[in-house]
Symmetry: C2
Subunit: 208 residues, 2 copies
């Protein structure tokens, strides 16, 4: 592997430390940046800078939030919105899950973003999630219903199970639900896998 | 596709404009950067900054070169090295080809980096290469031998052919050679393809 001068090697090293970028791609990117007009390449540098200086997590729900001028631990737009129903909290794994649910416009409660899921194989356990914050919110007594909105897969299900166990004895009055499982709208039954069909049959909904 | 706040979307847009990075990877990278300690993420931003402020191309051969304090169009280390044989110039497509040849320690001449190859299908023609600089160097009369070191493939060969045509009539005294073709050392004949075998047979070297 040829060695480049420091400024080039630094860019290659920086990019190849990112997820999904190997050293070959990083090299290609470095040469691409070299060719780009300076202000376009700088836009990326500034964007990274701004990301780190302006974006953080909401102090209540861990959703993404922008830092204010004098506020290092701000509230996100949703927690800050007084029209939201504060008694209903939907627990999701990641900010992008929250955005997906928000885009429906159907949820008027708050959220709690775990920033991960329990995945022992990846070395992620309950300590790495925002469960302590969730317990604090439950202890405050405002929450009447907790909707478990983790992903419908093995890790998501274990995470939900863990949360159920966690609050079963301490907060018996909180109603716990989960997002419905079944056939994904727009798909075809013939291509649905066993666990989807199992969900569809076991969870069949009464029409009349 | 959910919409993120500006600072996040800017990073996603910036990364997905790079070669080989799709919007999904860009999103993953943005969240990775969010999680990273600030100074580690900033290292990448600074590396890009430095790349654009410090690195440029050699004013003679277009190899990569670092800008001096008062020198916006510097010479590269090789053109600047007085121990080099200035009468021999090896033409390569990219700085990384130059580095590969340099790593052998076997070439003591100079280089000329085309910064590309003629590839009509990619919309790259001879105007996009540093051929005008090459002609200037030839016109200066110092070059006795030009070694064509473009890649041994269709685009590389067309590029070499173009250069041969270009200098055939104007500089008849300049010797033109190309890097040897044949079996790649360390490989097996049974796996060599037709054109490698053709090169090997046609270019067979007399031993005694």
């Amino acid at each position: 592997m040829p060695q480049y001068t420091r400024p080039i090697q630094n860019v290659i090293d920086g990019f190849s430390s990112l997820p999904g970028i190997g050293s070959r791609s990083a090299e290609r990117i470095a040469f691409h940046l070299l060719k780009l007009p300076t202000d376009e390449a700088m836009k990326l540098a500034r964007a990274i800078d701004e990301l780190k200086t302006r974006v953080t997590h909401c102090r209540v729900c861990s959703n993404l939030a922008e830092k204010g001028h004098d506020e290092q631990r701000p509230l996100c737009d949703i927690c800050d919105d007084t029209r939201r129903d504060r008694s209903m909290v939907c627990v999701v794994e990641q900010p992008k899950d929250l955005l997906a649910l928000e885009s429906t416009g159907l949820w008027n409660g708050l959220y709690h973003v775990l920033l991960g899921r329990i995945a022992p194989l990846d070395g992620i356990d309950h300590e790495d999630l925002t469960l302590r914050d969730l317990e604090e919110r439950l202890a405050a007594g405002e929450i009447a219903e907790l909707v478990l909105g983790t992903n419908p897969n093995l890790d998501g299900d274990s995470t939900s199970l863990y949360i159920q166990e966690l609050i079963r004895t301490s907060y018996p009055s909180v109603k716990v639900t989960r997002l419905a499982r079944g056939l994904a709208s727009g798909t075809q039954i013939e291509y649905a896998n066993r666990s989807v069909l199992e969900d569809a049959i076991k969870g069949r909904q009464t029409l009349r």
